[in-house]
């Protein structure tokens, strides 16, 4: 039987579960350097659908994931904010096994992530701000990583957790005006070995542009802003290691283009984005991604 590999799509999902945008206005799929006020909490609830069915192998794999991701952030001071992320996933895999269609699934809490963001530099002028921040954190193996079904032990991507302590770090830059916002983020994730499996390390680059569609003209107070969002996400993943051997059907490069919409008020944000892969150069028979749809609600208190 062909094992389901850790494809970039699932890597991306895991990554964004941990360091997705949790604060302030935009972007939707990653972080922003904007502040969380001292003593302020921010809560975010995401609902994410992912499907990968473009299988170059005869196994004709079709993987679907529905995940809810809960994020709580706290402003320690005006520069330092800490975040906790707890995902819950419902995963289903359909595939052809020796001429027979089989289905395997799994549900449960996934690995929790804790990270901090520190604003190193900021330049504020009237109606606009520029900020540069560093992010760093780790993912703890809180999800089950040894579940089995009637066909045996579930493959790594179907497990709720990886069993490993992983760490990541990066930098995020934000330029925000009343009319638009630009963000960029680079991050690197080091995945460690567990259960004789070591998912390849990952590097990603994210860019986001948000443009205020409504109201076109401001006239006092703090009206809700309706933004059009366009993001681009690049992910490179090294090959996985299984039993010390490199897995030739894993890793590669993917670029997503992600249009979205966002409504931002003083207390809450509603947003949705569709991530479509526009370039996938994956190794061997790694399963390709169809799309990721994310909806999200944020509030501060």
């Amino acid at each position: 039987m062909r094992c389901l590999q850790w494809t970039p799509a699932f890597v991306f999902l895991t990554l964004t579960m941990g360091v997705s945008s949790v604060v302030d206005a935009v972007p939707i799929t990653f972080n922003t350097a904007l502040p969380v006020a001292e003593g302020e909490f921010i809560f975010r609830q995401q609902l994410r659908w992912l499907r990968s069915s473009d299988d170059p192998s005869e196994a004709d794999r079709d993987m679907r994931v529905v995940a809810t991701i809960s994020v709580l952030g706290y402003g320690v001071n005006s520069k330092l904010a800490v975040f906790g992320v707890l995902p819950y996933g419902d995963k289903t895999l359909e595939m052809n096994r020796s001429g027979t269609e089989i289905e395997r699934d799994n549900q449960g809490l996934a690995d929790a992530t804790v990270f901090a963001r520190y604003t190193f530099w900021q330049d504020n002028i009237r109606g606009r701000t520029f900020r540069l921040a560093g992010i760093g954190g780790f993912t703890a193996p809180t999800g089950d990583d040894d579940k089995s079904d009637g066909f045996g032990r579930l493959p790594a991507p179907l497990q709720n957790g990886t069993g490993a302590w992983d760490w990541f770090g990066g930098a995020v830059v934000t330029y925000q005006t009343l009319g638009y916002q630009l963000d960029g983020q680079f991050s690197y994730r080091h995945n460690r070995e567990a259960n004789n499996f070591d998912a390849g390390d990952e590097a990603r680059l994210d860019l986001s542009w948000q443009y205020r569609l409504w109201p076109r003209k401001l006239s006092g107070g703090v009206p809700g802003f309706f933004y059009g969002v366009l993001e681009a996400n690049y992910l490179h993943q090294d090959k996985n290691q299984r039993g010390g051997q490199s897995d030739e059907n894993s890793g590669g490069d993917t670029v997503w283009l992600s249009p979205g919409l966002q409504y931002v008020t003083r207390r809450w944000v509603l947003e949705a984005v569709v991530q479509k892969p526009i370039y996938q150069n994956l190794n061997g028979n790694a399963l390709k991604n169809d799309q990721i749809v994310t909806t999200s609600f944020r509030m501060n208190f």
Binding site: A25, G75, N124, V222, F225
Partner: protein, 98 residues
Amino acid sequence: MIPIRALFLLVLMVASSAWAQGPAYDIGVDGLSCPFCAYGIEKQLHKLDGVEKVETDIEKAVVVVRVKDGSTLDRNQAMKAVKKAGFSLRSFEQSEEK
């Protein structure tokens, strides 16, 4: 029919409550450029003693703070609150109107 004396007292109460309002301050904030960010500043300013009302004009990047009668707000307090929210104080002055 409302007795004239009661009506007079009512008018006097309304008028005196308006006169009892404390001073207002216009606080210019640099870096403020989205609605979600305004909440952080308003929350920090509400924590200050005597603050009764906080209103933001995001286009002008100004937060108007009204304090209770007998209270005052100084520039240093305002600057600390704005900084805690992650922004910079541009200007601080007492409003003309009461």
